[in-house]
Amino acid sequence: MATYLEFIQQNEERDGVRFSWNVWPSSRLEATRMVVPLACLFTPLKERPDLPPVQYEPVLCSRPTCKAVLNPLCQVDYRAKLWACNFCFQRNQFPPAYGGISEVNQPAELMPQFSTIEYMIQRGAQSPLIFLYVVDTCLEEDDLQALKESLQMSLSLLPPDALVGLITFGRMVQVHELSCEGISKSYVFRGTKDLTAKQIQDMLGLTKPAMPMQQARPAQPQEHPFVSSRFLQPVHKIDMNLTDLLGELQRDPWPVTQGKRPLRSTGVALSIAVGLLEGTFPNTGARIMLFTGGPPTQGPGMVVGDELKIPIRSWHDIEKDNARFMKKATKHYEMLANRTAANGHCIDIYACALDQTGLLEMKCCANLTGGYMVMGDSFNTSLFKQTFQRIFTKDFNGDFRMAFGATLDVKTSRELKIAGAIGPCVSLNVKGPCVSENELGVGGTSQWKICGLDLTSTLGIYFEVVNQHNAPIPQGGRGAIQFVTHYQHSSTQRRIRVTTIARNWADAQTQLRHIEAAFDQEAAAVLMARLGVFRAESEEGPDVLRWLDRQLIRLCQKFGQYNKEDPASFRLSDSFSLYPQFMFHLRRSPFLQVFNNSPDESSYYRHHFARQDLTQSLIMIQPILYSYSFHGPPEPVLLDSSSILADKILLMDTFFQIVIYLGETIAQWRKAGYQDMPEYENFKHLLQAPLDDAQEILQARFPMPRYINTEHGGSQARFLLSKVNPSQTHNNLYAWGQETGAPILTDDVSLQVFMDHLKKLAVSSAC
């Protein structure tokens, strides 16, 4: 089966696509019986250093409802200069420019290796990237100082012609005018009042009143850029100015009395930022970067009152329907997010505070617009500083690894329909023949908008097989899917990336083995997890878990090999073997468990889970554990309490945290200072090895994981203990013996128990 693994890997490398099933069941009925839906993880901007964009525009199918792009799967009649669309079977004439094509002279898009191809579009005015900083000033002095420095630093990372703007907020919201000499000038808004986009634009003087006099003047159009440029200026022009301005930025001067939170008008600040861009640069790539150090405490979008004695809502409050501001605030931010998405801008949230900052309410801003969400304890930590810096990292071409204003258009061949997508996107509500009525995730459309995306942004896209059982697909038939992604490259060019893939159909009754073998359990786990998380956002946690369990049991029933009512006989093939384990860890993950997490943390985790690619997602579901010892090179070990041994150093990567854990003995050695003795240099190296590895992960990961260096008995060891499979607990400790690991004080079931139950249920005929 190595071939399938290779195939899968190859496909992912080339097209950024991972399907749950790589051979497709050929009828609707069969497909539903497969339990795991036919779906894929698609990374639209999968980094392809080997793929130079072509300098022309794609050839489209002339059928207005199709408009699929010419691709290697199309039938081409070189003599007649015709090609047949493989989605709608429309026959199309090649455009005149293709007059010279022949079997030996093919354009790139017809070559099989170009199943993914990128076109550059020269049309249309190019507008510079826009970065609008929205900065909370209700911070501690050192926090603000650190933030100011980060922001100043970021100016040097921006392309010189990028436009930057600055909005600061506290009790009031200030929109800074950047072009003025001498007196620094800002427009101030009350933090308690919700304003419409129109009002904001009026107040900022962005709209000229409809005075006939002025309309008559031809100069009018020229004034427009001038007006907007008061707030958004090219970096190279106001570099110094803005640096000074940031330098002079003071903490919010309004007094905060004892027992109160500072009044923070995040809701209005965001609203103004959105309104400002909406009025000046609609449908241009722009990032609104919100830096906040606490929860919004006033105005629309307020999450908690300013009385410190009333704590910010917890999951408990939310369950009890006791979070009085939550619904209203959520609605406010959703409205903003939708507007932003409609304008093609994205909102990043950088929230650094020890307490919650209202990410739960604000999450949609980042989720729907493809913005980043970063959560930290303080702006004065390397976690924030480096994460922020990493946003501006560049690819081998010297371009930002970010893109803007993308639309993803999915086309399917007739046997398939699109059920929906889950990821940092919003629906564009494009109904078409290939849109299913059953929705999974954001459905009801064949197009989505992804306002901000980077090279790893990944969407889960779900399909439905609609072919009826009684209308079999001819042997050897293939289903095709085309992903067309329009986006604004960070070099400000418009580009189109087209990925066309095809998979074989198989009759599940006769060729179940094929299908089974082509199962991608990793992709399936992530795709199922996305579904689960998506549901968890709107449903009660327990319901989601029950649903996941049922899906798992049904899958086991379908694909397991067992004798009825005999759990011991239960077996799963290799292609399914890891799946239950993924599900086990998923059930315990912060994406579905809210226990021990604040609502903000949950939102944060879910945000990242819904946008990362498969590898990262898997790490999130089932953290990776490496063990370092004198006995050999570092090796991955089971995420199990039995792996926690006194003479080992563990390195756990949960995506959000990197934990280095020194076993009891190691810790004692270190305490004794052996690493400093020349004769124990090997111990020093042992200690160093995980640190180096961790560094490597830290360098590559966005956002920067929390870096935890702990040891046996350390308080931070809880991060490790909460993740490992509690195979040893205080309940079964003595049955297992001391030498084999560390007991976890928990009542959670262990993987073994979970599997036992699963087997029992799978083989029972009751369900």
Binding site: I183, S184, S186, Y187, V188, L195, M203
Partner: protein, 1095 residues
């Protein structure tokens, strides 16, 4: 005919006598009343040095006069009679004389007094004609105007005698405290009178008595009867004694003129013609002389006897027509008062004293009552009952200027610190400790003088009493010995029970196109740089505690952060004008010295930043709201200086539309022009008051800005409005900057509450001025400066007691400019009377006019202007008719008899009626009217006086060397000589009128041009030339400006130039273009009204 007519009177005369008894009775009661007071007065006089002196004089005169009189007496009799009337008219005379008469000796003395009159006449005779005229004028002054004419020639000699007596009579009047005061002035004259018995005296008497005029009109019928008696009276006059004299005399005077006038001329017109030529000079001359004598007369006053003499003179004098010179002259009255009372300090120890006129320079010594600079009353003698008050129709009002600026030689109120216990107050009515509180039980308790409640004296305040029941330490404690003083307030008197922080000034500058274009912004910013060093500070403080802030605005607001730590100011724009707020706290209000560099930088940059603005729309309400919110956020009181150019038409709260509609004038809807367009302004004002935020508004309109609406907030917050129409830096710079400097520098109290407490019997019921009231008793002033006045009207709610009089206590709680919370207390004791005559004798016309103007100006908000004018006229007529009916002799209906103290009431009232607000001319804009309306609302008495009756000063009449201010002439075109130059000022405007045939030398030395025709009309600055005349004129202009709270821009007007129209508008004795009556016409009209009321 006249004669005949005059004859008939005779019989009546006889009759009158019989009548008199009755009269007497009434009068007696009055008299007795008056006498009663008289005695106390004596007592009062005692203390006052001036008084003491006067009486002796009177006595001394009496004898001489008595010697002379007999001869004249007969004639005098008539005169006397007339005078008597006058006297009666004066009420004082009537009663007092009557008293005297009845009282055996009293009457005789009168005779004697008359005698002197006689002697005077003798003197007069030599003067012959002129004197008569003089007398006439005197009479006229007395109101006999017309009547005087006819009889004049024959009786003149005789008449003169009487006039003098009149004077003396008036002298005798002094019964009331007021007189006492007047007399003083007169007293000195008296001595003169003796010297120059003849002429002067009569005039004097006239003015002093001034009371009875016989306007020509009505005079006719009655006069005859009167005259009749007169003649005989004259003959018998002497014998007839004062009583008859009084009675008879008035009629004759009145009658003859009346008849004569009516017959031939017809009342009003003749007067004009006659008056002008001959009389004028006489008047002047006579007045001058008259003044002299008057003082002398003063002395006689105390001694009642003079009465007898009075009657005589007037009758004989009567000229033929109503002579403008014969009607009461404001100039004369002012000059007299100045001469009589300007020399001695006014000591406030005596209850119910009438202070000198506001036009007189005098020094005040506080001995227990508040200085007239703080409080002036319409009457210092209040009727005991509300019935009397209603009958008299004289409004009882006090014009209070709690923070008045005192001349340097008067000490400002002492500050009393009672420590933590705070000021001592009555437990029941909460009145503050004052000199009138009665300590009893050996000093352990005190009885409240306002509510009679008996309170314990707290131990720490205890002090023994001396044998008179006075506390031993009375003179050590300002609150026990002075009329005005201050307490330091405790925290209980502070808002939120927190001591206030120092106040703040916020400068809010319109930077719309208009403001930039006119150069205003640049000028203002430049000026502010230096002006900020002169913020008001507590005396002794090194620097002002006041913080400053800056805002500019057009249709959005720009706030500035000028924190000292900044290298550059920061501008914060607030465009959410619908929902104004203050965008910053720290750095908005700063100490000038600390942030000087930043402020200077800001003021340098503001004109540059907006130099290219094209924004023409402005907002208004949000601006004030912003300032108010800023003060609220800073938790302090303060003042906003708003510099605004145009009608706020930008979309914002308080948006206004142009509603100027001249068609509304003289309709029932005219009042809407004075009302604010929307309620937003009042609501805002209330909020401002609650925050102690006072607004001073500087307007620079090019067109209609709706002053009526815009001034609502300044008005209700105790602020000022300044208006510079069509502002241009070149022309108006000096005026604006001077106003601004004064306004910024003047001492202000913030967040003030004023309450006027009164002793049982009267109650403060109505308040006029720039303030806000949320209940019926507390006057709330967000800010109060030394120029602001509150007029308070009182009504009876019970009987008053003559013994105890009536007390006022005005308590003002305010925050000083250093942020100190203080209470300023002013106390004033008034007399009470059971005789109307006493009321009339102790009135103050200037104050009365102040009240009536304010009353009327408020009335136009709710009633048609015409109704307001009618109300004024009616009230005035009622006042005078009541006097005539109750205090003057009954017989002469045709004679216009005015109370001495109110003889200027008609002329002043006419000025009020003709004012722009009540009778706008074609060139007066709606904004001007609204502006003036609100200005007058907080004017003090001196300001209203000159505002309504402008001062017209001849510049070239007096020798160049003389350093004194030239004597004013009456505001009438007839008084202008085309060979002269005149200055006219009314507190707001200043004109230099150049006659067409002024000497070339004068033109050269003043204007540096060679001829009249080369003088630039409308010139606003006189060239600085090094010659005596130029220096003198410029010096005079400077000194006039220094006297007024607002800078008066000079306008040079050439005779016959088109600008002259503007100038003529201020000649208030003339008929105005807008239909305002001339003085003479109005007087006749008033007489008609009175007669109607009497019949």
């Amino acid at each position: 005919m006249n004669v005949n007519q005059s004859i008939p009177p005779v019989p009546p005369f006889g009759q009158p006598q019989p009548v008199y008894p009755g009269y007497h009775q009434s009068s007696y009661s009055g008299q007795s009343g008056s006498t009663a007071p008289a005695i106390p007065y004596g007592a009062y006089n005692g203390p006052v040095p001036g008084y003491q002196q006067t009486p002796p004089q009177g006595i001394s005169r009496a004898p001489p006069s008595s010697g002379a009189p007999p001869a004249s007496t007969a004639q005098a009799a008539c005169g006397q009679v007339a005078y008597g009337q006058f006297g009666q008219g004066d009420v004082q005379n009537g009663p007092s004389s009557a008293v005297q008469m009845q009282r055996l000796p009293g009457s005789q003395p009168f005779g004697s007094t008359l005698a002197p009159v006689g002697s005077q006449p003798a003197v007069l005779q030599p003067y012959g004609p002129p004197p008569t005229s003089a007398q006439v004028t005197a009479q006229l002054a007395g109101m006999q105007i017309s009547s005087a004419v006819a009889p004049a020639p024959p009786s003149s000699g005789l008449g003169y005698g009487p006039p003098t007596s009149l004077a003396s009579a008036s002298g005798s009047f002094p019964n009331s405290g007021l007189y006492g005061s007047y007399p003083q002035g007169q007293a000195s004259p008296v001595s003169q009178a003796q010297g120059h018995p003849g002429i002067q005296t009569p005039q004097r008497s006239a003015p002093s008595q001034a009371s009875s005029f016989t306007p020509p009109v009505s005079g006719g019928p009655r006069l005859p009867s009167m005259t009749g008696p007169l003649l005989p009276g004259q003959g018998f006059g002497g014998p007839s004694v004062s009583q008859p004299n009084h009675v008879s005399s008035p009629p004759p005077q009145a009658l003859p003129p009346g008849t004569q006038m009516t017959g031939p001329l017809g009342p009003p017109p003749p007067m004009h013609s006659l008056q002008q030529p001959g009389y004028q000079p006489q008047q002047n001359g006579s007045f001058g002389s008259a003044r002299g004598p008057q003082p002398n007369y003063g002395s006689p006053y105390p001694a009642a006897p003079t009465f007898g003499s009075q009657p005589g003179p007037p009758q004989p004098l009567p000229p033929k027509r109503l002579d403008p010179d014969a009607i009461p002259s404001p100039i004369q009255v002012i000059e007299d008062d100045r001469n009589n009372r300007g020399t001695e300090p006014f000591v406030t120890g005596v209850r119910g004293q009438v202070p000198p006129l506001v036009t007189t320079n005098f020094l005040v010594k506080d001995q227990g009552n508040a200085s007239p600079r703080y409080i002036r009353c319409t009457s210092y003698n209040i009727p005991c009952t509300s019935d009397m008050a209603k009958q008299a129709q004289v409004p009882l009002a006090a014009v209070i200027k709690p923070l008045a600026t005192l001349p340097p030689d008067e000490a400002s109120p002492y500050v009393v610190d009672h420590g933590e216990s705070g000021p001592l107050r009555c437990n029941r009515c909460k009145a503050y400790m004052c000199p009138f509180m009665q300590f009893i039980e050996g000093g352990r308790r005190f009885q409240c003088c306002f509510c009679s409640c008996i309170n314990d004296v707290p131990p720490q305040y205890f002090q023994h009493l001396d044998h008179t029941g006075k506390r031993v330490d009375a003179y050590d404690r300002p609150e026990l010995s002075l009329g005005s003083y201050e307490f330091l307030a405790t925290v209980d008197y502070c808002k939120n029970n927190k001591f206030p922080s120092p106040p703040a000034f916020i400068f809010m500058i319109d930077v719309s196109y208009n403001a930039i274009r006119t150069g205003l912004v640049r000028l203002l910013c430049e000026e502010l740089k230096s002006l900020l060093d002169f913020l008001p500070r507590e005396c002794g403080a090194e620097e002002s505690a006041i913080r400053v802030g800056f805002v500019t605005y057009n249709k959005v607001l720009h706030f500035y952060n000028v924190k000292s730590s900044l290298a550059q100011p920061q501008m914060m724009v607030v465009s959410d004008v619908a929902d104004m707020f203050v965008p910053l706290l720290d750095g908005f209000l700063v100490n000038v010295n600390e942030s000087r560099a930043v402020i200077t930088s800001l003021l340098d940059q503001i004109p540059e930043m907006f130099a290219d603005t094209r924004e023409t729309e402005t907002v208004f309400v949000p601006v004030i709201q912003a300032g108010m919110e800023a003060l609220k956020a800073a938790e302090c009181a303060g003042k906003l200086f708003l510099f605004h150019t145009s009608l706020p038409i930008a979309e914002a709260p308080g948006k206004l539309k142009n509603r100027d509609d001249r068609k509304l004038i003289n309709t029932d809807k005219e009042k809407t022009l004075f009302q604010p367009q929307t309620g937003a302004y009042q609501t805002l004002a209330k909020e401002c008051v609650a925050q102690g935020c006072c607004i001073d508004l500087f307007l620079f309109p090019n067109q209609y800005v709706d002053v009526a609406t815009l001034s609502v907030v300044p008005q209700l917050t105790g602020g000022s409005v300044y208006k510079y129409a069509c502002f241009q830096v070149e022309n108006d710079q000096e005026r604006f900057l001077s106003d601004l400097r004064r306004d910024v520098q003047k001492v202000v109290g913030f967040d003030a509450v004023m309450r006027v407490r009164t002793s049982t019997g009267i109650r403060a019921v109505d308040f006029f001025g720039a303030f806000y009231m949320s209940n019926t008793t507390d006057v709330e002033l967000a800010g109060l400066d030394g120029d602001k006045t509150v007029t308070v009207e009182f009504k009876h709610d019970d009987r008053l007691n003559e013994e105890s009089g009536a007390l006022l206590q005005c308590a003002l709680l305010y925050t000083s400019c250093a942020g100190q919370r203080r209470l300023r207390i002013h106390n004033l004791a008034l007399n009470c009377c059971t005789q109307l005559a006493d009321l009339y004798r102790n009135c103050e016309t200037d104050t009365l006019i102040n009240y009536m103007a304010k009353f009327a100006y408020r009335g136009v908000l709710n009633s048609p202007v015409k109704a307001v004018r009618d109300t004024l006229i009616t009230q005035c007529a009622q006042i005078l008719a009541c006097y005539r009916k109750n205090c003057a002799s009954p017989s002469s209906a045709g004679q216009l008899i005015l109370p001495e103290c109110m003889k200027l009431l008609p002329v002043y009232l006419n000025c009020v009626l003709k004012s722009d607000v009540l009778q706008p001319g074609a060139e007066v804009t709606t904004d001007d009217r609204a502006y003036v309306r609100q200005l007058v609302t907080s004017m003090d008495v001196a300001e209203t006086n000159v505002f309504f009756y402008p001062r017209l000063l001849p510049l070239t009449k007096s020798p160049i060397e003389s350093t004194t201010e030239p004597t004013a002439v009456r505001a009438s075109e007839e008084r202008l000589s085309n060979g002269d130059i005149y200055l006219l000022e009314n507190g707001l405007n200043l004109f230099l009128w150049v006659g067409a045939s002024v000497q070339q030398g004068v033109v050269q030395s003043l204007f540096s041009v060679s001829s009249f025709s080369q003088i630039t009309s409308g010139l606003s600055v006189l060239p600085v030339l090094d010659n005596p005349l130029s220096k003198k004129v410029r010096g005079l202009i400077d000194s006039l400006r220094a006297q007024r709270s607002r800078y008066m821009k000079l306008i040079v007007v050439k005779q016959e130039d088109k600008l002259e129209m503007l100038f003529k508008h201020f000649l208030v004795e003339d008929k105005s273009l807008s239909g305002g009556a001339s003085y003479v016409d109005f007087l006749c009209h008033m007489h008609k009204e009175i007669r109607q009321l009497l019949s």
